[in-house]
């Protein structure tokens, strides 16, 4: 590694260094606010280094990582989302008892793993980044050490372990046939006729890798963990699982299957089509049956990843832009929704019963209004970020004439609208006479959480009404790669 290499990966070094500083800080003096400040400083420093690093881009740093504008864009998105989640966690953990400081250490490490994922060009960095992310998430999910948290953590541990085994076996198959784990060399080894490569093993390997990726993205045949983990995890951690973990994995999926052109593998392509359609239908249909809010958002996220696959399969020049923009809107909206659940929650439990939200508008109009905006954006109603994002997905799909997928996307969005609106209606309903307010409703939002949510609401409308600047940014950064 040369000095220029070290310079290019400075944001990662800062994230890793920040986690060590937080660790030592906890060892010296346990203080919730000090840990928060250290964490936020690390995240801000890593974020501010990204534009400086982009001067060097694109740069291959050892065989493992590539620092190009694509990875820098997604790193920025991940670090910004991690900043918001850290702020939300502070207001969440302030009400909790027990050790709170280690939480931030795991947040930083999980962020580091995600940033490695989006910069990965080698199976080794893919797997290591994924494991750093997953192992941190096991603890974060079970962090409260209450029964349901432990249950969710164990479920995630076992299923993530299983999916990692699939992933590793797939990588081993590809490696045994092609003799390389470097992403850039895979297409050239494949097309080399003299090497006697067996397409069956490569295809089988790629399919197993897709299983591993599909688990992390909670696409339909691999989605069974999602509702339980979403429900059992603390609300800020659920936000992390829903946004950063999935976003990083999707960015990786797009990079890998753009290099290994998915159109060369009709059977794999067909599998993705089936997965996309199943995710959109099952996510939305099962969402209709949910009463708990966090479970509802879990099924909602399954369907949103299905929508994203439409643009992924389109894979034109517009596709990468559509995916990146949709991920931005999905991040803003999902963080906002879970942020509101966070500030509504108290030390006993997270606010997820429909009763917690009944008549909310008449008591806390700002919270109810923000929540309505988030849910409408998830449903894709005009003037919100979700609408513009979905518009781009449909445009990308039509551009590649994926009519079936686009029709399914539109139909299932219509189904999904119903369950989002059901929550909205509950918030505007009047409280029955003489009913007592549920304990979770006696809220006085911590100002940090309220601030984070306010920023997200403003972003939501900004992206929905005037998305041009962010679109320009995405076009300049993301298209260079594909």
């Amino acid at each position: 590694m040369t000095a220029a290499d070290v310079y290019a990966i400075l944001p990662l070094i800062v994230l890793g260094g920040a986690s060590v500083v937080v660790l030592l800080g906890i060892a010296v003096h346990r203080s919730h606010s000090l840990t928060l400040i250290l964490t936020l400083t690390g995240l801000v420093a890593a974020f501010l280094l990204l534009p400086l690093v982009s001067i060097e881009a694109p740069r291959q740093v050892t065989p493992l990582l590539v620092i190009d504008s694509y990875s820098i864009f997604f790193s920025g998105l991940i670090i910004a989302a991690s900043f918001i989640i850290t702020v939300l966690s502070y207001s969440y953990l302030s009400q909790q008892r027990g050790h709170r400081e280690e939480f931030y250490l795991f947040l930083l490490l999980a962020t580091l793993g995600s940033v490695v994922l989006v910069a990965s060009t080698h199976f080794a960095s893919f797997f290591l980044g994924l494991e750093v992310l997953s192992v941190s998430l096991y603890t974060l999910i079970a962090y409260s050490r209450k029964e349901y948290g432990i249950e969710a953590g164990v479920k995630y541990l076992i299923l993530a372990g299983l999916s990692s085994a699939f992933l590793l076996f797939g990588m081993a198959l590809v490696y045994s046939e092609l003799g390389t784990m470097k992403l850039a060399q895979i297409p050239t080894s494949l097309s080399n006729p003299s090497s006697g490569v067996s397409q069956v093993f490569v295809l089988g390997g790629l399919a197993l890798i897709v299983v591993g990726i599909g688990f992390k993205l909670a696409l339909v045949p691999f989605h069974l963990w999602t509702p339980d983990v979403y429900q059992g995890a603390p609300a800020p951690v659920t936000a992390f699982v829903a946004t950063i973990s999935k976003g990083a994995m999707f960015a990786l999926l797009l990079r890998y299957f753009t290099v290994v052109n998915i159109h060369n593998y009709p059977s794999l392509y067909l599998a993705f089509v089936v997965i996309a359609i199943a995710s959109m239908f099952i996510g939305n249909l099962l969402g209709l049956l949910q009463t708990k809010l966090k479970r509802l958002l879990a099924y909602s996220s399954i369907s949103h990843l299905g929508y994203l696959l439409v643009a992924f399969l389109a894979s034109g020049p517009l596709a990468a832009v559509a995916v990146a923009f949709y991920l931005v809107t999905y991040f803003v909206t999902t963080l906002g929704a879970f942020g509101l659940i966070t500030i509504m929650s108290n030390s006993d439990r997270d606010a997820e019963d429909p009763e917690d939200y009944r008549g909310l508008f008449w008591r806390k109009p700002w919270i109810a209004g923000s929540f309505t905006a988030m849910l409408l954006s998830l449903a894709g109603v005009p003037l919100t970020a979700g609408f513009v994002g979905k518009f781009y997905l449909v445009t990308a799909g039509i551009g590649s004439a994926l009519w079936l997928l686009v029709i399914v996307l539109v139909v299932t969005s219509g189904i999904g609208l119903y369950y989002y609106l059901r929550v909205v209606v509950a918030m505007f309903a009047s409280l029955p006479k003489g009913s007592t307010i549920a304990p979770a409703m006696r809220i006085s939002p911590h100002f940090t959480g309220a601030l984070a949510v306010t920023i997200l609401v403003l972003l939501l409308f900004w992206l929905g009404i005037y998305p041009t600047p962010i679109l320009r940014l995405i076009e300049s950064m993301v298209t260079g790669f594909s």
């Binding site: 590694m1 986690s19 660790l23 050892t62 490490l109 793993g113 494991e131 192992v135 941190s136 603890t139």
Partner: protein
Amino acid sequence: MDIVFYIASAVAIICTVMVITRLNVVHALLYMIVALLSVALVFYTLGAPFVAALEVIIYAGAIMVLFVFVIMILNLGPQTSQQERLWLDGRIWVGPTILALILIAEVAYVLSTHSTPAYTITEISPRQVSTQMFGPYILGVELSSFLLLSAVVGAFHLGRRRQLYPEEIAVSAAAVEQNTSPQGDIQPEPQIQSDIHR
């Protein structure tokens, strides 16, 4: 050498099946040790003596011994000695011993014949592994260290004995008082007391 590979693989598969079908943890562990040893032999026949040595030292040696200790420690109680006698019953050694003997015979055969395998093998020395690790894959090593950091701190956090909160201490103290008051001068259960102070 081919036949050695296949026998070792068969032993590995049999052992692994036994591991996941045993109801007693210690029995499963015995089979698991043999499974790891046979995987080491598989590595050796494939021309990776360094990985084979690591497999024996780290997995079959350090990690498995740790496993056995943890399980023995967790089962503390009055019936422990009885239980251990049951575990170490002669019959349970038969299966793992036979499989291990097969492996030993194979090792002896390999070492005595110096047979070369039918397929070409490039042997990888520890030196080559090290230069790769600290050359192009240095970031992988660093990432592994973060992975371990996360795992260690996570295990610490989840495994730590939970502190009791003031109201819970009050509740358990009241319970102690209620239990002991009819008997007069009997001391409160020391078990609960020590839990509170921890």
